[in-house]
Symmetry: C2
Amino acid sequence: MNIIDGNKIAKDIIEDLKNEVGQLPNGRPTVAFIRVGEDPASISYVRKKQKTAEAIGIHAELTVLPESISQEELFAVIETYNKNDAVNGILIQAPLPKHIDETATFNQVDPRKDVDGFHTLNIGKLCQEDASGFVACTPAGIVELIKRSQIETEGKHVVVLGRSQIVGKPATLLMVRKGTPGNATVTVCHSRTQNLADITRQADILIAAIGKAHFVTKEMVKPGASIIDVGINRIPDATKKSGTRLVGDVDFDAVSPLCEHITPVPGGVGPMTVAMLMQNTLKAFKAMNS
Amino acid sequence: MNIIDGNKIAKDIIEDLKNEVGQLPNGRPTVAFIRVGEDPASISYVRKKQKTAEAIGIHAELTVLPESISQEELFAVIETYNKNDAVNGILIQAPLPKHIDETATFNQVDPRKDVDGFHTLNIGKLCQEDASGFVACTPAGIVELIKRSQIETEGKHVVVLGRSQIVGKPATLLMVRKGTPGNATVTVCHSRTQNLADITRQADILIAAIGKAHFVTKEMVKPGASIIDVGINRIPDATKKSGTRLVGDVDFDAVSPLCEHITPVPGGVGPMTVAMLMQNTLKAFKAMNS
């Protein structure tokens, strides 16, 4: 059983990016972060992204807008960054206040600067296997973990648990596409799936993104399978100072002895998303300066 | 065993569309066809679409361009239709000459007039389950056949044979989405799939879009399954005047006795595509006039 070390892999990628950015002949990439309101989790995420950008040599700008901002005002800020040739990537930290349409906001970003990969056009490009698009950071991180752990996908049966727009569907499209990793037979399961365990037990690779703590039990897993656990669920834990701890969608202690490879939570997919965001920013910079 | 009559269902839809168009308070929809060159199959397809449009009461315009036209000139023609408010739908008949980039051409069409559903933005909308987009006519026809044959999809296992951009992937996205038909567990198989028959035998609904005559044999099908055969393959047949006949991807004679429902070829999915094109044109008209 190999525990996939997402922290180590993310660190390797960030190191690679730092080397590449250091050798760019034509300046440094710039990413603009837009944060709306003072949600503590958002503050912490954006700070982490800024710090990683700076460590790589990517210039990071932060605009903080009041919770009360109107959609039109927010769009105007985005438009300023769209028009600014010095900005390569734009990230709007979710969640946004309820009075703002999130999908419309993500679609306001110039698709060439959409380093989050949330623009409808980039989702379409993913479906069309057009490599010029941006893939959202979580599914991109899943693929990178599989690749760097040398897990074979070609002809294998990948079962994706969850059909969300941001994980399940893009992961499905990435695993089925022509390429490496890719060329897998893929089954998408969700809350309506009948006889779920019969299906998950067929998985050579199981991608769990259903958002339920310890949902995947050992009865649902074929011995020798590899598991990517995308879930981040907070459960009560009296032994912790906070009274809670984070767990994935997989019952790690029971399932991991059966697995060829498995990602832990935390420390699996999570750390990959920031690395993928930086990779997308460098990609945007290179596309704009080629 | 029920043979799904695609001709009858398409005719019903066309009749419904005719009634709806006849009652429109604000004029008639217009669809513009662009044909490049004199390919006999393209001439015949476009003529069929024109005739169907006229039968419904949709105004159809045809522009025929020479095979030698440049991409820029073709784009300029498309732009004229994009800007013409009287035109609701634009269809560029494929295949295009080799010197013209097909994807770029389809992306030149205003997405609001993309009644073929080939624009990257409409593919993205399909993935995002945004009902304002246009779904390509073949996968839309598959869904409509399933719906009008009252084949239950919720919680069922749909196996899609083929991962093409125009059938396999959109059909997968449509079957997995929240809705009716939809909410299915979906497996996508293709040329690299291992142990294919083990997977197809699990299908409650099998969508065959692999482009190989008689590929699906009775050993690959679970008794009681429903089959949508999207293949159109020409094979030698000495008993025919032409020396050939059309068959699907399914060995119909051997497989059909096992099935709950099955589409024939010809006369299954084929007739649906023109009906879906007309449905998309009416949808475009209503969106522009609402």
